[in-house]
């Protein structure tokens, strides 16, 4: 279920803010677009799948632009940075998991995961800054994972790429602070997405239920992450930068069993 407008609660205004969102074709990225648009943002949606981007745009409450781009390709990142309008924010949601035990890990597996989870986010941030597309006060938000600090079996490539992204976000925060720009990163635990459903199918229902028992508040919903993203994009969070926000439904309170 996307969008929680109509609750009567006012949230953080993103009125007329131009926000670029990568990985906007599904899951957390799609939800960020829907929730940001509900706060008045003009979203620029980026992903490889045009049909899914159009679906996201149709769910948005305000006008949304679509940019089909393969962020594993450096030239497409440059082209994207050159063609987007001036931005007030950027949300990096594009990512893959590709779990694999370390004794099966090859360079191509590491490259595949790092290319989208780390290189794409880092290079796009740099290209947007170089092209002077980020307005003063702009906010960068990255999506990491609780697994960067508390990994699970098979997560070596994924968790490492997210840990690298956390260091990147903090360095970026330092470098862009003179322009009153900010960078923050979220570390969600298990969130109900299509990726999670696929994991459930792979590992079986019983194993999956065991995982959820570790979450005092249960697994998260994509809107839970999107709401935090909207806050970090908004001016109400203007004094927050370089932070890592864990969102794990209490997972780390008692540890993984």
């Amino acid at each position: 279920m996307y969008g929680n407008s109509g609750t009567g609660l006012s949230k953080f205004s993103l009125h007329n803010q131009k926000i670029l969102i990568t990985g906007a074709s599904s899951g957390i990225g799609r939800s960020c677009a829907v929730e940001a648009s509900a706060q008045g943002a003009h979203c620029i949606l980026v992903a490889r799948n045009k049909a899914e981007l159009e679906k996201t745009a149709s769910l948005c409450k305000t006008k949304a632009d679509i940019h089909v781009a393969d962020l594993t390709k450096e030239e497409e990142i440059k082209k994207l940075a050159a063609t987007v309008p001036q931005l007030n924010g950027m949300v990096n949601c594009a990512g893959i998991i590709s779990p694999r035990p370390i004794n099966f890990l090859k360079k191509k597996n590491l490259e595949e995961v790092f290319t989208i989870n780390y290189f794409a986010a880092a290079l796009l941030s740099g290209e947007l800054l170089a092209a002077k597309k980020m307005e003063p006060g702009a906010s960068f938000v990255f999506i990491s994972s609780i697994s960067s600090q508390h990994p699970y079996f098979g997560a070596a490539a994924y968790a490492s790429s997210k840990a690298a992204l956390e260091s990147f976000s903090k360095t970026l925060a330092l470098e862009i602070a003179p322009k009153k720009m900010r960078s923050n990163i979220l570390l969600p635990g298990m969130v109900r997405t299509r990726m999670l459903e696929e994991t459930k199918e792979a590992v079986g229902e019983e194993n999956f239920k065991h995982y959820e028992k570790n979450y005092p508040l249960g697994f998260g919903e994509v809107e839970d992450v999107a709401n935090a993203v909207c806050f970090l994009l908004s001016n109400e969070s203007r004094w927050i930068t370089g932070s890592e926000l864990k969102m794990d439904g209490g997972l780390m309170l008692s540890g993984i069993k």
């Binding site: 779990p99 694999r100 035990p101 004794n103 099966f104 079996f153 098979g154 459903e197 696929e198 994991t199 459930k200 199918e201 792979a202 590992v203 079986g204 194993n207």
Partner: protein, 79 residues
């Protein structure tokens, strides 16, 4: 690779599984101690040895080791 070699290779990767545990008609999810870790090893083993990618839905459609082996063979024919 025939199914016996497939099983031998898989058992070698799953070190906590005594050799001879897996048979063609073994319902692998019912093997004692079977966990998500073993599912990941199966996926990685098939990828490394056959260059075949198994997805969650692929695995859901299998129960026995024979099912797994036949799935890999079918995917190899479709490459």
């Amino acid at each position: 690779m025939d199914i016996q070699a497939f099983i031998k290779g898989l058992e070698a990767e799953i070190e906590d599984l005594p050799p001879g545990t897996l048979k063609p008609d073994t319902d692998y999810r019912k093997v004692a101690q079977w966990s998500s870790m073993h599912a990941l090893i199966v996926i990685a083993y098939v990828d490394a040895n056959f260059n075949v990618t198994l997805s969650g839905p692929d695995l859901r459609g299998t129960n026995t080791i024979s099912d797994l082996y036949n799935l890999v063979q079918a995917k190899l024919k479709n490459v």
